[in-house]
Symmetry: C2
DNA sequence: CAAGCGATTGAGAATCATTCGCACTGGCTG
DNA sequence: CAGCCAGTGCGAATGATTCTCAATCGCTTG
């Protein structure tokens, strides 16, 4: 999932490795966290990159087609548009605090295995999955006790 | 998760059990499937109910606050706004075909247990989860073979 | 049962993220 | 280094969702 890999993808699909595409993906790798479009744009601007919002959207679209990026739902109402780079196998698991929004990304073999099983049971061929666990983090739990 | 239960929720929160709120929730229960706002509006109109889109949004918001409804992500890019009623414990698991979009809702004890474990491991207190498995259904798999 | 009050609704305007259209630019090929 | 076409930037268009506010409803009280 390196920048180099992304450039290979581009070449394979007869797409140009432009400055903008490179810097978007490099920044996503550098952040190593989920992010939204505005914060990505801000970070790129701050680094002096010349890029427009439309191009960011177009690049994110590309990344999603390649399976290098996924949109994640970080609240039960799913109203926030947040993206995350896909680790190997494109599985993203999040543990989200429903109080403060703090999010832990994790990856667990057993989740993948379980999904594989379920897909098989229904005759489906697994491609990926996305698990969000909504819970209350220890800090917020404590605060609740105080009130 | 009956209509009655919804009315209790309303009362507890000092909210009025209006015709509109009742018919929205009744329709959601009747559909027993994931849905989008427009199709819900259409169905209500066809039944001769008088309701506006704004009120539907407001009611969906309420239902989500009560945990009776959840927004689900039925594609990796998460661009479609689709809602689903929450079964017990508010766990929604979907098996989505990435080719044709066909979706199976299921519920599995083992998924809940696994989430519980993961939350505990990080010191979190589980409230709910949402699992989407993206896979290819048997029909689409066959079609691919034909080409 | 009528009046009164605050909650709720409907209609359309406003907002916000995302996409589109189009003229301009830049990467690559020969 | 010339030229083509994909890619970009801008601003306008779109589409979903939320807001505003006057009109209405549901419920409570007299």
């Amino acid at each position: 999932m390196s920048l180099e890999m992304f450039e290979n993808f581009l070449e394979e699909h007869c797409l140009k490795a432009t400055q903008q595409r490179r810097s978007v993906y490099a920044e996503i790798l550098a952040m190593n966290e989920h992010f939204d479009v505005d914060s990505l744009l801000l970070r790129l601007k701050q680094k002096g990159q010349s890029i427009s919002k439309a191009t960011i959207y177009r690049t994110l679209q590309l990344l999603m087609e390649f399976g290098l990026l996924r949109r994640v739902q970080l609240a039960p109402d799913g109203m926030d548009a947040v993206y995350a780079a896909c680790p190997e196998g494109c599985a993203i698991d999040n543990l989200v605090c429903t109080e403060c929004g703090r999010t832990l990304q994790f990856s667990k073999e057993s989740v993948c295995d379980l999904c594989e099983d379920i897909a098989l049971q229904h005759g489906f061929t697994l491609s990926s999955h996305c698990l969000n666990i909504f819970a209350i983090c220890p800090e917020c739990k404590n605060k609740q006790g105080d009130e």
